[in-house]
Amino acid sequence: MLSDERVSPDRKAGPTHAGTGLLCVRDLQASYGGVRALRGVSLTVSDGEIVAVLGSNGAGKSTLLRAVSGTLALQGGRIDGGRIELAGHSLIGLDPAEIARAGVVQVPEGRRIFAELTVEENLRAGAFGRARRDGRANAAEPVFELFPRLHERRRQQAGLLSGGEQQMLAIGRALMASPRVLLLDEPSLGLAPRLVDKIGETIRRINSDGIAVVLVEQNAAMALQIADRAVVFDVGQIALEGTASELAASDDVHERYLGLGAGGPQVGEVEPLTPVTGRRQAQALTVSEVTVRFGGLEALSGVSLNVEAGSTHALIGPNGAGKSTLLNVLTGVYTAASGSVRYGDAVLTGLRPSRIAALGISRTFQNLALSPTSSVADNLLLGRHRLTKAGFVSAGLRLPSARREQAQQERIVAGIAALLDLDSQLDHPLGSLAYGDRKRVELARALCAEPTLLLLDEPVAGMNAEESQRMARTIVQVRETLGISVVLVEHDMAFVMGLADRVTVLDFGRRIADGEPDEVQRDPEVLRAYLGFEESQEESQT
């Protein structure tokens, strides 16, 4: 399988077999621009094993995968010490393509499928990682067997697939290389609960074919269910290690990563916050009979909902149900073919996005839409752009009035950052922050525009139980202090049910339920379409 000319042996240490592991990481240290991200991590993955890697955002999980797959440098990071070996051969310093060809293939976070290529071509691209060319021709068959859906859609452009199908494609593409070790970075991120179970099942099936799996996951419940062993990262080190069942039973893991002890977000003790900026009154938002079409496709069909002033309203539904589309209608990015949106007395339909923002509606994005090279403070100042008065000339000349304003803006930004616990990171370039922290910067930036209605697109995607609780607390604090309304799209059910006053459920662009969280949770159609309890329901009926 692995020929010597493909992987050059480690010159310093020579081929050393450290234990029986297939993939051995020894005392690995890595950093991004001087900031240490891994502080001596050792991990052994044996043949045919599933190892789950858990931990909060910024603990170093993704850094470990990047170091192994050779893509650390692309992110501005470097390996400072330690060893990474595949069957005794060092992988450090190799080009990512050579590492893939040696048999270690990574499914990157966020799927990263080739959107303009067809499903079939995406799979062909995956076959470049095969050590030998001869198997390329029929390599796709086992993948199609695993994901029959991909076979149905093989001639379709990958960008048109739903989120779940894209994740299948990303995994299938990696399998085309017939890897010995598969690295999965957050495969369940942003997927509806029933798809998460399906991905877990799929990983098991892949593993049963003898492929070792390293699974980085925020969804610790799913990861611990399918893994043989697990490690928990904390500040660049492995804090806990053991079999999956041991860790699942440990109190610490239970509380922090499974969030079971808490029973949904606890938002009891809210610290008092002082509003940092002037106040406007939140208004009621009324969406009536909104329809949106893309070409011939109806993304939303006659959707209505009401958001009372000062309330939290959740939008849930399977991937592709039209949730983000609805947010885009609210902000004016998409135009409704029919129907209307009113915010207080103002009619939003037909207004330009900038006008809608001026009315006090601000949003965060599902995929982070921030500038990675600028500092956190600069990103936040950008969010205040609408509220600054200094013009091009006075700012350029640094007139006293412009400088005064700048200082005032910086104070406001610092206040908002403090509200979200970001004050210590204001000067860091955004790219150096962990994913979960960047999500909080997004929220802070939206708040910088002093909204009265805040739209949040998947605010806790990619966060573990502890972090999403913290986010829930923050959202409640913000809402209470500033008296604003919140509309949020989210897949994390515990989060939604603990936080929302009202829930609207979308499926295929239609509203299938609307009500208080308890009602919606019991609605049979919601269970079928989204929460994925149909099997257990049927069993209980028989």
Partner: protein
């Protein structure tokens, strides 16, 4: 036949040459995100080599040899210079400026070599003409159109069907993900530059053949007009390069053909027409006719 049809056919045949040149420009941009201004000098180099070698190697032999040399030169630009700058963190802007520098260095040396001479390309058709739809067209232009269409067809098949095409398109779509799948980005990039160099040499040979007088000191400047063709069509669209090339070819030919009628705009308008067309198109569509607009899913 009317002057209009004559100019149209002549313009389209010139457009095929432009398309061939613009396509190389687009291929480099797609694969490596470098706006390659050195393309014009590589073309000039190709045309110069053909003019020097056609006596000993014959026209086709000279074109083949020039294509190989230009492919190597272009690939070396990528491997030695572009890659080194990129490794040190050079961005798209720095890389574009690097290619301007390469262009100036190459052009200066070529202008020294050419001097005040006008070197004929040595195309075997000489100044012979033929009739297409009853219109008089130089035979070299017919040959150029045939060669261009065949090469573009071959490219299209390879780009959409072959493994090389899949690797190219994957790398263009998401380089990091492509590398994770085992695609060797450095080879894809060098391959794209080499292909662009070869296309520039072939395009250059026809570009300087009849009715053009041959390779002279202005060839580099004229070759730069292929860049508007690529930008106008859309920097990241190969189909756009073809359309952009045809538009520029027709526009310059019409401006030259009707220069008596439009003399109030001044003589020699045809030389700036590509840039005027570029400005007009970009005002209307900032990403070119077929270019991907900066759209992101929000």
């Amino acid at each position: 036949m009317s002057q209009f049809t004559e100019l149209l056919i002549s313009g389209l045949s010139l457009g095929c040459i432009y398309a061939l040149i613009a396509m190389g420009f687009v291929i480099v941009f797609k694969a490596t995100k470098v706006v390659n201004f050195a393309h014009a000098s590589v073309l000039w180099l190709g045309a110069y080599l053909v003019a020097r070698w056609h006596d000993s190697l014959g026209f086709f032999g000279a074109v083949g040899a020039a294509a190989v040399i230009c492919a190597v030169v272009a690939a070396l630009c990528d491997v030695v210079l572009v890659r080194a700058l990129r490794r040190r963190g050079g961005g798209q802007d720095a890389l574009a400026i690097l290619t301007i520098a390469i262009n100036i260095v190459l052009a200066t040396e070529l202008s020294r070599l050419v001097g005040t001479d006008i070197l004929p390309s040595g195309a075997p058709w000489g100044s012979d003409v033929t009739h297409v739809f009853g219109v008089v067209v130089p035979q070299t232009r017919v040959a150029a159109a045939v060669v261009a269409v065949v090469l573009m067809g071959l490219f299209w098949v390879a780009f959409t069907r072959s493994s090389w095409g899949v690797a190219m398109r994957s790398a263009a779509s998401d380089p990091e993900a492509a590398a994770l799948m085992g695609i060797r980005l450095s080879r894809v990039a060098a391959g794209a530059w080499a292909l662009a160099g070869a296309l520039a040499a072939i395009g250059g040979a026809f570009f300087t053949s009849f009715p053009a007088p041959g390779v002279d000191n202005a060839t580099g400047l004229l070759a730069l007009t292929a860049i508007p063709a690529a930008v106008l069509g859309g920097l990241d669209s190969t189909a756009g390069a073809v359309v952009g090339g045809l538009v520029i070819g027709v526009a310059t030919t019409f401006a030259a053909g009707y220069q008596d009628e439009i003399s109030f705009l001044g003589r020699g308008l045809s030389q700036v027409v590509p840039y005027i067309a570029l400005l007009l198109v970009l005002l209307w569509r900032p990403s070119g006719l077929f270019g991907t607009r900066e759209i992101r899913r929000v």
